[in-house]
């Protein structure tokens, strides 16, 4: 490959342009969240806020119970992630290390499950939750998020565990670490990127889940942010500034989380997808 300075300048220019395109809508979100409600009704719209209404970010907490919604989102995402990992890790490890009857069937089950999305099954999920008397509970949301993220986690972790040579673990085993000791001291540390990818992936998709929460929850204090946010703009009111202030409050922590794992992500995707 040639490394001419022109090439570098063009690449840099294109790179920053692409970055701007990806961030632009969220920049617009930020600017909108700082406008007054009056300014938002102007036509045509303004580029920058005429008056930078920073107080929107304070008032929004009083305008709607978003603290409660945020807690719901957090509890659902966190517990679902723990449940998913607790189920996926042993399954992925065992299928990566052992050949046994039913292994193929299990991996096929995982693959098929990956083809089901909550959206396609929402009627069935809703009727099941009615039958189990679980409508309008956090448990329903936790179970659904845990189950539908399980296949991806098993797949990623399976790829990771398989890529670690068995001999490495056996060496630790012979050194007297014990089976479990070898697992915790050798295999898990090496597969950290895979585990982190699985954790963040599950957390974020549970944090952003919409259709099941929309269908299964009814009372405002059991609705996650995704369901609560659209109600800022209805037929009767249009608080776009609050809608986007809340959106930013929901988005920023997740973006930061994602940025932290960016390095692991590429390794995680390689092991999970190309394997």
């Amino acid at each position: 490959m040639k490394r001419s300075p022109v090439r570098k300048i063009v690449l840099t220019g294109v790179g920053w342009l692409v970055a701007l395109i990806f961030v632009a809508p969220y920049l617009q979100m930020f600017l909108t969240s700082l406008k007054t409600e009056h300014e938002l009704t102007k036509s045509p719209g303004t580029y920058l806020p005429g008056h930078w209404q920073w107080s929107n970010f304070v008032d929004v907490w009083k305008a709607a119970p978003i603290w409660t919604n945020m807690r719901v989102s957090l509890v659902v995402a966190a517990v679902a992630t723990v449940v998913t990992l607790a189920c996926a890790m042993p399954a992925a490890y065992y299928t990566a290390r052992n050949r046994f009857r039913g292994r193929g069937a299990f991996l096929l089950l995982v693959l098929v499950t990956q083809m089901f999305a909550p959206t396609a099954l929402v009627i069935g999920i809703f009727r099941e939750m009615v039958a189990l008397n679980l409508t309008d509970t956090l448990l329903a949301l936790i179970l659904v998020n845990a189950a539908f993220n399980l296949p991806f986690c098993i797949w990623i972790l399976h790829g990771y565990f398989s890529s670690i040579p068995k001999e490495l673990e056996e060496a630790a085993f012979l050194d007297g670490a014990g089976r479990i000791g070898a697992l915790f001291r050798v295999t898990l540390p090496i597969s950290t990127p895979g585990v982190i990818t699985a954790v963040v992936y599950t957390f974020i998709s549970a944090w952003n889940e919409y259709i099941v929460a929309l269908t299964v929850t009814a009372s405002p204090n059991r609705q996650p942010l995704t369901v609560a946010i659209p109600s800022f703009v209805t037929q009767y009111q249009a608080h776009w500034q609050y809608l986007f202030a809340t959106s930013l409050i929901a988005i920023v922590p997740v973006v930061i989380l994602f940025v932290f794992i960016e390095r692991y992500l590429i390794g995680g995707l390689t092991a999970g997808s190309v394997k």
């Binding site: 690449l11 299928t95 995982v110 009727r127 296949p151 259709i211 959106s247 940025v259 190309v274």
Partner: protein, 308 residues
């Protein structure tokens, strides 16, 4: 117990041990199997069952309907356009996403100052909720105060504000763009991961052989990216087919059914029209469609030779 064990015939413990050994996998796989069975398979069965039942608007089962839900569904005037629109929606979004992400993946793999930050920027729509991304696009496309109209007015591309989401065709194109926009980050990163797994000596060899940039890309890079492209496009087909929040937030499938895809159509049948059985029938049809598309795709690309 302990004393008895010594007196038993030799075959008994070995049988027990064999059963024991057969059960060990269950110990490791059990939690996953239970979770999948209860939360994924149960709704599948429930959905198929519901599609054959007569269900009142309050959710009470009133008895069997046989295939009547399916005949009702196929009698809907909106059905054929909705299915065709869904196929177009999936095909257009997946193709555009794959082509663009091959370019973005390549860019993210190239060396230039600030690459790190560009990678972070590309991640943002992936981390953000699709619903919220759809809402900001809806606001930017707003008839009166939207940014898109403002920019186009200032550039004199249009001379009066356009109600982008009010016209089905324009609305569909914008929503497809939003779907591409939210699919790009994941797909680009899969491509990037694929690019990084290509050993650099392959490129050395190509250079020694005097292959140009064009030939190197189509002769080496693209073929070696096949597994990544395959996986990414299958995941995209499934995701895009099942995409709900974009259309729900931006047009809710309206006006009428003019921008519905099968998922929003199905949702409206159940929760607006209260035809739960018919909606379940739509869900079953929807699933068969996904299955067929994925199988056709896998067959066409002969994936077994590539991945595995």
């Amino acid at each position: 117990m302990k004393r008895d064990a010594g007196l038993r015939p030799a075959s008994r413990p070995s049988l027990l041990r064999r059963i024991g050994r057969a059960l060990v996998p269950l110990l490791w796989l059990g939690p996953s199997i239970v979770l999948i069975a209860v939360v994924v398979l149960w709704p599948v069965i429930e959905m198929v069952r519901t599609s054959l039942l007569k269900i009142s608007s309050s959710g009470v089962t009133l008895g069997n309907r046989g295939s009547a839900n399916y005949t009702d569904l196929f009698d809907e005037d909106a059905l054929i356009p909705v299915v065709l629109r869904t196929l177009l929606w999936v095909a257009a979004i997946v193709v555009v996403t794959m082509v663009l992400s091959l370019a973005v993946g390549q860019l993210l793999n190239a060396r230039f100052p600030g690459r790190r930050i560009v990678r972070w920027a590309v991640i943002v729509p992936w981390a953000a909720s699709v619903l919220m991304t759809a809402l900001i696009w809806k606001w930017m496309l707003d008839n009166y105060s939207g940014l898109v109209n403002r920019v186009l007015l200032d550039l004199h591309v249009i001379d009066k504000p356009v109600n982008w989401l009010g016209h089905p065709h324009q609305a569909m194109i914008w929503m497809m763009w939003v779907a591409v926009f939210v699919s790009l980050p994941f797909t680009s990163f899969v491509i990037l991961a694929g690019l990084q797994s290509i050993p650099s000596d392959v490129y050395e060899a190509a250079r020694v052989d005097g292959a140009g940039a064009f030939r190197t890309y189509f002769g080496i890079t693209l073929p070696l990216l096949r597994p990544a492209v395959l996986i990414a496009s299958i995941i995209n087909v499934i995701n895009v087919f099942n995409s709900f929040p974009i259309i729900w937030a931006m047009t809710a499938g309206g006006p009428g059914h003019a921008t519905d895809t099968t998922t929003t159509f199905m949702y409206k049948l159940a929760f607006y029209d209260q035809h739960v059985g018919e909606s379940a029938a739509m869900a079953v049809v929807n699933f068969v469609l996904i299955l067929v598309m994925v199988l056709v795709y896998l067959k066409a690309t002969r994936w077994r030779e590539e991945v595995r």
